[in-house]
Amino acid sequence: MRITCPFCGERDRREFYYQGAAVALERPVADAGEEAWDAYVHLRDNPAGVTKDLWYHESGCSSWIVVTRNTVTHEILDCTLACDTKSEVSI
């Protein structure tokens, strides 16, 4: 499996740490309520198909990357810096 780090280029999967679904970027506000926090921390869409998840270029440039990926074929469709995705969403 090869992942294209937006800074470093295409690298082997071994250089990356995987965290989980990119929903982790959408942190609720502190008082969003029990349901929202339960959903954020625990619940997952877990699609059999295209998903967005978070990878960390731990053995490289330390970037957190949102990888758009197919969980059935392992095809990688897009790699974007988490901070860029984030600024689109929230700022």
Partner: protein, 977 residues
């Protein structure tokens, strides 16, 4: 028997080797199988279940029968395919799975019991009495099963791993593969051409054919010499591509040393490659399949293509009178080649009524072989035709049930192959592996002409995808013989007809599985073990599937296939795990004080990837406890020095650094003054404790965070996530500087005295109060000093750039020695932190909340932070949670143990009564008895109560008093003073 004038072996280089203790002669270029056949050795192995005598079936890596053990002692290698093993002078091979000898195998009694040992018999018996399974039945089954044996000794051989990148990976160097490589290489692409054989050429080495008017062998050698002269081409023979993975990644095994007489010191035995290719061409050829008929497993019965290969490549004919049996045109080639080489062809049996005619040998059209004789070697066959049954004396039967394209790699990413009625075989699905083209016999194109054309076309397609223009290429002239085939999977009749030779799966087993409703191909496989032998079903799966389809009344495509999974052929664990044996499994991290610590005879122990000193023995000390007690006493009364560099150090800078820290820590850092450090608690987002440590403010926009040794990586990752993923708006940057700074604790009443003299100005309490920090000049080197304490004593931590670490450590020790102090290790450090009730990851083990460790007030109510909301969930605090406590033994208790459980004094030590557990224990020389930290339900409210500590494992049962976890100097006066 060797045929004069035939073959590619080097008759000028005789080779002497040993099989089962007997010496034989062969030639350079022989495999063990070809050399044994040349010496008329037909019996080479025994089957798995029935221990049937077996001979060589094939001429390649798919061999199911001729498996031997090569070498002796620790280097002995079991289950080596004699068909792949090249001979060298001194080669020693032994047959397997027989006792006492290959020709007299007592386990062959199983063959007589075959009616009781059919498919799945073991699921129906051996159940009574139940305890006999482990004691009797299973040991017998285990001893009877298995093929070769491991030596039981540590692997003595060198294995390597290597990495390669290319534009185009061509897998297989037969006509299709070399043509593809040639076209791509001439266009300037970086090409890797791999082939599992010792010599490239594929079937061109085994067939009597011409290309461009010269023998195929000559043509292919010319192409290979052109390729080998090109800088953009790497030729890798003896290399098997074993798996296709995501992103154009392939695994390949190169056999570097197996054909060498001496294990060359510099060379590995095998190299496991990871090859990343932008495009690939699979040109892996095809494998011939046998036909099932009664007693079709005798030594002397071989695939027809293998007989041709032994004749044409090795100059060997495996019998005096050879018969050929098939259902397709290709079988006829074998008879023709044998005849042309002057071999007596006893007859050609073709199941097709419209089989082509031939001269020079009898052709039995519309006939089948229905039985054979010859226990240790074929003696005769029975030919059944419309006119009845004939017996034919023969010592070698070449069988061809057709060819199966080698589709395996195209299926490794879950693609299923497609049934092709023209060749009665599966061909690759077009979309199997992204970027992979398929050419030649593995796509179902069997003539040399079609192989060459497809190889060239696949290269052109790959070049297009790579954005390179393909040069015009002339396709060489070659035969384009038709290939006609009629279905024949099993000859009808009684008795056992083998499908999976090694696992002894017969046609009747597949039928019985279907009767018992194991009708899914996966169920049939698992119930009968069909295809689960070392050949991974290469010789038998398609026929077994066809028979299952037949008995269940389905078409073959509707019946499906089992999945193809890596590896394509078996790979040694030592190859894939190369480099890890011994210390290579994980990096070793050494502190700058390592050498000085070893010089002082400190036992170095693993702390994660680091090595840290356990204790520093002095003359007269014989146990670790003596050293540890002395070191604790030393720190408590004079001064001790300890390397604490392994703690994670993260440099955090930027205008928003303080706000960032407020967000990752439960407590507040924005209020911290420059030149001060503060203890911080960090939660995971799920509200549990992640880590703790002190963070120092070195400037308005500059902080230095310390983490525990264990969590350094996790915390760095976490901070990067919180910044990049949650708060990219904050202007802050951070980097791990753990390795850049060597840091030493100087602890004890004389710590200041030790340090004074090292710096430009002496330390004073007024300038360096407890929790102060700042820059210092250490004998001219810029360092950092922190007045922090993990021992509870007046203490400092002094950091210098790592290159000065060794020298500073030695300097500190020299000064400590003059003050009656010295170095202390992990044991003493641990005792002192337990005396002080300081937690480590023994306590913050991932299930613990701030409430549990009595730090809920450190979760600031004035701000949000990671983990705050979830830490407020009902379940994360409350009286029923286990809370951190100290334990003092009551009475004459000698031993407390970490891992013991706690119970109310009068309760039985069973699960339902469980009240908690012990996490850390120490003998405290300061207090004069054992101490323990642990967790106890509602523990903070139970100080003063007695609880029962039970350790079943170590047979301890002790009464303890629940106390405040800070045993020593609870007010912290020593550290502050």
């Amino acid at each position: 028997m060797r045929i004069a004038g035939k073959g590619l072996i080097d008759r000028s280089k005789p080779v002497r080797f040993v099989f089962d203790g007997v010496g034989y002669d062969g030639f350079a270029g022989d495999t063990l199988a070809s050399a044994l056949l040349a010496n008329d050795v037909r019996l080479v192995g025994r089957s798995f279940k029935y221990h049937r005598p077996r001979g060589v079936l094939t001429s390649g890596s798919e061999e199911p029968n001729a498996l031997v053990t090569v070498g002796n002692g620790a280097a002995a290698e079991p289950n080596v395919r004699a068909t792949v093993q090249e001979i060298y002078t001194g080669l020693e091979a032994k047959s397997q799975n027989r006792w006492p000898s290959l020709s007299m195998d007592l386990m062959a009694a199983n063959d007589l019991a075959a009616p009781f040992l059919g498919a799945g018999f073991y699921y129906k018996t051996f159940m009574w009495p139940s305890q006999f399974w482990e004691k009797l039945y299973e040991p017998i089954i285990r001893r009877a099963a298995g093929l070769g044996a491991l030596s039981g000794e540590s692997n003595p051989d060198k294995y390597e791993r290597a990495y390669a990148f290319c534009d185009l990976l061509v897998i297989g160097a037969g006509p299709a593969g070399v043509m593809a490589a040639l076209v791509a290489a001439r266009a300037g692409a970086d090409v890797i051409l791999v082939d599992e054989d010792s010599r490239m050429g594929g079937r061109l080495l085994a067939e009597n054919c011409e290309i461009d008017g010269v023998p195929g062998v000559i043509w292919v050698d010319r192409v290979l010499s052109e390729l080998s002269a090109m800088d953009n081409v790497r030729l890798m023979s003896r290399t098997t591509v074993t798996g296709a993975y995501d992103g154009g990644t392939f695994a390949a095994l190169e056999r570097v040393g197996h054909h060498r007489a001496a294990r060359h010191a510099g060379l590995p035995l095998e190299t496991f490659w990871r090859i990343v290719a932008k495009r690939s061409v699979l040109a892996a050829g095809a494998l011939e399949r046998p036909v099932a008929f009664r007693n079709n497993d005798r030594p002397g019965i071989m695939t027809a293509g293998a007989v041709r290969a032994y004749l044409n490549r090795w100059g060997v004919v495996p019998g005096q009178k050879v018969a050929v049996f098939g259902n397709n045109d290709d079988a006829h080639r074998t008879a023709r080649d044998l005849l042309a080489a002057g071999v007596h062809v006893a007859g050609l049996i073709d199941s097709r009524h419209n089989a082509p005619d031939a001269t020079g040998f009898p052709v039995y059209k519309g006939a089948m072989v229905s039985d054979t004789t010859g226990r240790r070697g074929l003696e005769s066959i029975t030919i059944r035709s419309v006119s009845g049954e004939d017996k034919l004396a023969t010592d070698c039967l070449a069988i061809s049930g057709g060819w199966n394209p080698t589709v395996h790699l195209t299926c490794h990413l879950n693609s299923r192959p497609v049934w092709c009625d023209d060749i009665l075989a599966f061909v690759p699905s077009p979309s199997g592996v992204p970027g992979m083209g398929v050419a030649g016999a593995c796509s179902g194109a069997f003539s040399t002409d079609r192989c060459l054309r497809e190889g060239a076309a696949a290269a052109v397609a790959a070049l297009e995808a790579l954005g390179k223009s393909a040069p015009k290429t002339q396709i060489p002239d070659a035969e384009d013989a038709p290939y006609a085939i009629a279905p024949l999977w099993a000859v009808p009749g009684r008795g056992r007809a083998w499908l999976d030779f090694q696992n002894d799966v017969c046609v009747k087993d597949v039928k019985q599985a279907a009767v018992e409703n194991f009708r899914s191909v996966e169920h049939m496989k698992r119930y009968t073990t069909q295809g689960m032998a070392t050949d991974q079903g290469k010789n038998s799966n398609v026929a077994a599937l066809a028979i299952l389809a037949d008995v269940t009344g389905r078409a073959i495509p509707d019946t499906g296939t089992t999945t193809f999974r890596p590896p394509f052929s078996p790979v040694a664990i030592a190859a894939m795990g190369a480099g890890a044996q011994g210390k290579g499994f994980a990096p070793e991290r050494f502190t700058t004080s390592h050498a000085a610590s070893v010089e002082r005879k400190a036992p170095m122990i693993e702390a994660g990837l680091w090595y840290r000193p356990s204790y520093f023995p002095v003359p007269g000390e014989t146990t670790w406890r003596q050293s540890c007690d002395r070191e604790v006493d030393m720190v408590r009364h004079t001064v001790g020095v300890c390397d604490v560099s392994t703690l994670g150090k993260i440099d955090i800078q930027g205008p928003d650094a303080a706000e960032f820290l407020d967000f990752v820590y439960t407590n507040t850092f924005s209020t911290l003054k420059i030149g001060r450090a503060r203890y911080g608690l960090m939660l995971r987002e799920d509200g549990h404790v992640m880590d703790d440590g002190t963070t120092a403010r070195l400037g308005a926009h500059h902080f230095l965070m310390t983490t525990t040794t264990a969590a350094a990586g996790q915390v760095m990752r976490h901070l990067d996530f919180v910044h990049q993923g949650l708060r990219p708006d904050l202007d802050v940057a951070m980097v791990s500087v753990t390795e850049q700074w060597a840091q030493f604790a100087i602890a004890g009443p004389k710590s200041r005295e030790l340090l004074n003299g090292l710096f430009d100005a002496d330390l004073t309490d007024a300038e360096w109060p407890f929790m102060a920090c700042g820059p210092v000049q250490v004998m001219g080197v810029r360092g950092r000093l922190f007045r922090i304490s993990f021992s509870g004593e007046h203490a400092y931590e002094l950091a210098v750039p790592s290159r000065y670490g060794d020298s500073l450590f030695r300097t500190l020790l020299a000064r400590a020695d003059t003050l009656g102090g010295g170095a202390y290790g992990m044991e003493a450090l641990n005792v002192m932190r337990i005396e002080k009730g300081f937690i480590t990851h023994a306590e913050i083990h991932g299930r613990v909340t701030a409430f549990d460790i009595g730090m809920e007030r450190m979760v600031s109510s004035k701000k949000d932070c990671i983990g705050k909301t979830m830490s407020e969930r009902d379940g994360l605090s409350g009286a029923d949670r286990e809370q951190l406590i100290g334990l003092n033994p009551v009475g004459a208790v000698k031993q407390l143990t970490a891992g013991a459980h706690l119970f109310n004094a009068d309760d039985d030590p069973v699960r339902v009564n469980d009240q908690g557990y012990v996490t850390s224990v120490a003998y405290s020389p300061t207090m004069g008895h054992m101490l323990a930290l642990g967790f106890l339900k509602n523990g903070r409210a139970r100080h003063g109560q007695k609880v029962r500590m039970v350790d079943h494992l170590r047979d301890l049962d002790a009464l303890c008093e629940v106390v405040n976890p800070v045993f020593f100097d609870p007010d912290g006066e020593r550290a502050r003073g």
